[in-house]
């Protein structure tokens, strides 16, 4: 897994590439957690899943964990470029109750 973090105003965009599972989710939690802690001005989180090849329940848990921080800041979590097999996992897991799927990065960035 590889993460690319880009901040733009109050929005943090995270491009997730590769596999998000038991072995990579600790790094995912730490990297994004550190960024959110060091930068209290971040209110919204956008995940870009275009390059994400695999996610399982360990990965979904890691995504949900980041939501909790954002919720405390009254922010929004959204996902863009979600491949079909991930849409189904997001649905089944109930993650879509707290994370919206946006049609494009431009659309998602309007939260700022």
């Amino acid at each position: 897994m590889n993460l690319e973090l880009k901040q733009n105003g109050r929005v943090l965009t995270v491009v997730v590439s590769g596999e998000l599972d038991l072995s990579t989710s600790p790094d995912f939690r730490r990297r994004i957690g550190d960024e959110l802690e060091q930068n209290q001005g971040i209110q919204h989180l956008i995940f870009d899943f275009k390059e994400t090849s695999f996610v399982d329940s360990s990965g979904l848990g890691a995504i949900l964990g980041r939501y909790r921080t954002i919720a405390k800041r009254d922010g929004k979590v959204s996902a863009v470029n979600v491949p079909p097999h991930l849409v189904r996992l997001f649905e089944l897991s109930g993650l879509l109750k707290v994370m919206t799927i946006d049609p494009s990065l431009e659309e998602a960035e309007k939260y700022d």
Binding site: E19, L22, S23, F54, D56, S58, G61, L89
Partner: protein, 147 residues
């Protein structure tokens, strides 16, 4: 090719979860699964093997066995650990139930919904054995004797 099998043993470290996915997916590709079905098999495998790493052996490291079989155009995956076991199987299968507050309690739910069949046998302090079975949809349409 009609029948095949693959027996695998490896230590319960997180790095091997991805390896298990690759192995199972390559083995499963000998049947007529769609890409979507292979994806479901990858998730189910990932959940079963992750459970051995996290729950069965916790901080210690133990061994995980994978027994893969192709028979009658059907894939079966057995995931075996010699770990702590599960005290209440029905509770464990409940959606959102987890003994770990950091986790979602969805592993067994995914395994059940992504495979045709999923059964667990477990004995406390002896270990757990999960059997998952799946047949390609495309092979279900055709006669049972294959082609």
């Amino acid at each position: 090719m009609k029948e095949n099998y693959l027996l695998i043993t490896f230590p319960s470290i997180p790095e091997n979860v991805g390896l298990a996915r690759v192995i199972v997916a390559s083995f499963a590709a000998q049947l007529d699964f769609t890409l979507n079905e292979l994806e479901e098999i990858r998730v189910a495998t990932s959940e079963a093997v992750s459970n051995c790493v996290i729950h069965a052996y916790r901080e210690q490291s133990g061994e995980i066995q994978l027994e893969l079989k192709i028979q009658d155009e059907t894939l079966s995956i057995k995931v075996i650990d010699g770990g702590c076991g599960i005290s209440d199987l029905d509770l464990a299968k409940t959606a959102a139930y987890s003994t770990d507050p950091e986790r979602m309690g969805l592993g067994l739910v995914f395994m059940e919904s992504f495979m045709d069949q999923m059964t667990i046998e477990s004995q406390l302090n002896q270990g757990t054995q999960v059997l998952m079975v799946k047949k390609p949809e495309r092979s279900k349409d055709s006669n049972d004797d294959g082609q």
